[in-house]
Subunit: 334 residues, 2 copies
Amino acid sequence: MKMKKFLNKAEDITKEVLEGLVMSNSDILELKTGNLVVSKCLDDANRVTIVTIGGAGHEPAISGFVGCGMIDISVVGDVFAAPGPDAVLEAIKMADKGKGVLLIVLNHAGDMLTANMAMKQVKSLGLNVKKLVTQEDVSNAPRENSDDRRGLVGCVPTYKMAGAAAHEGKSLDEVYNIAKKFADNMATLAVACRTTTHPQSGAVFAEFDDLDMEVGMGQHGEGGGGRMPMKSANDTSKLMVDALVKDIGINANEKVMLIINGTGATTLMEMLIVYRDTVNYLKEKNIEVVANMVGEILTVQEQAGFQMFIGKMDDELISLWNKPCNTPYHKKVK
Amino acid sequence: MKMKKFLNKAEDITKEVLEGLVMSNSDILELKTGNLVVSKCLDDANRVTIVTIGGAGHEPAISGFVGCGMIDISVVGDVFAAPGPDAVLEAIKMADKGKGVLLIVLNHAGDMLTANMAMKQVKSLGLNVKKLVTQEDVSNAPRENSDDRRGLVGCVPTYKMAGAAAHEGKSLDEVYNIAKKFADNMATLAVACRTTTHPQSGAVFAEFDDLDMEVGMGQHGEGGGGRMPMKSANDTSKLMVDALVKDIGINANEKVMLIINGTGATTLMEMLIVYRDTVNYLKEKNIEVVANMVGEILTVQEQAGFQMFIGKMDDELISLWNKPCNTPYHKKVK
């Protein structure tokens, strides 16, 4: 399949996409040297601030969630690539308002390397920074080895929890502990059924025949091993819910957040139907969905499929989730 | 190409997608008999109200824009099909709070037939209803014959203008006139480069070879005649801007709204790059973009491509556009 994308020069993609994002949200964002996407809420912040890192190519993630109540600065790498540690250090210095900085990193090799190098520099400078890693893909490692788990869409609600806690004036330890409580009780599983192409190289990520889907596919085409014939929305939902509920250990009468994250070519129609089926199936298990997102949040270019995310919720997390926020691609109205 | 969609029974799609939408937005929406998606803001409304109609299959449009500050009731037909006039009459009666109802209809044959039949019944009942048709596709008829023009994504900002004017307590004539002023000065052009499949029949909408795109494609696969080799984001943008600016008749120093509406498989990365190129090109013409939407708003299932919308703005329209609203897929924060 030939790549059919509306792009200019391959080497300009990241620069141009960030310009487009900031130009279309000039009330919320500024773009600073080093591909830093900076919230205008940072200017008069007197609180813990939130910094994150990650490559371009997953739009609207990550930088589409920079803004009041979520991320303060997103440090952007090239397409599917980590940024360098110097840019991260620069961002942390810029974000630091004297109350400390929470650095949230998705568990991918390049991002972790960069984050660890930046943390070393940060410590040598005596800055007050804590690092939180999101690693919730149930498909590629058991929960006991969660350090091997990939970070998928779970970073996005984690930004919201951390950002809302920071806006409430909580200390860095408190913000970290809240975000960690949420992140420790979440899990994601992906399914894909049509491939994507790398927007710079045109490389195809995975081959599918006319009838197959793959459960457990990572967001850069990493295999999950779960090849099987396409299933209905309802059957796919049940298979994924069972894996997630078992992994997290959710009991009857508990409350959860449910995210259906389209990875590209799968329609919102399908995502809404999967959402419906999933809520109904969780209800059968006496598990209540009290928070949700349905849409394209962290995409894999034009890959068909979706990620299903479930996270345990308690009263504190529900309250933080419902706090107002204003970012380009996630807004909560008071 | 085999259809690969996460669905259940074909005949249940519309029912299930509406259930999913309302379940995931239970603070904003209610679902009532006859596939009416109703805003919870309607309960205590004492103002002009906004009703619209259209088939499922274009998610998030249309029902994803029901909520405070936009649509009060969306009457949903089956996939790509108009609802029946009885459901529309029911919706208008439900919406009528004694200040009149604005019925907004996209110019497609089935929707127009239904709307005209409903308007006859409405008049015989002595209800105070005005009908506004959005018809802004520049590709299939010249502006002099705008009654032949298809309604594309332009309905969505029109809902916002009408909804905001209604919330300000304006009369039905005033709300109609504001929405009409906006709709009379807007234009949309679509481009597609990979087909979609009908989610019920599996029918392919259009064939593309490996290198072609088509400018002017309607949102049900209607041909636009503008087959040409794929162009860069920047060249595609220029071609579309030139057609739209000429059609509307926009002069230097005027202000516009710009929408880049992804129709399905085209990535937000591409849309943001096209947005950037378009703003820059308009700037060369001394035309200022003062409002925007970038994302999947009115989709054509998994079709790759996008619709570019431009509409003239004045101070009144800018003010209405910036009023708060809270719908599932478009929110404005105060």
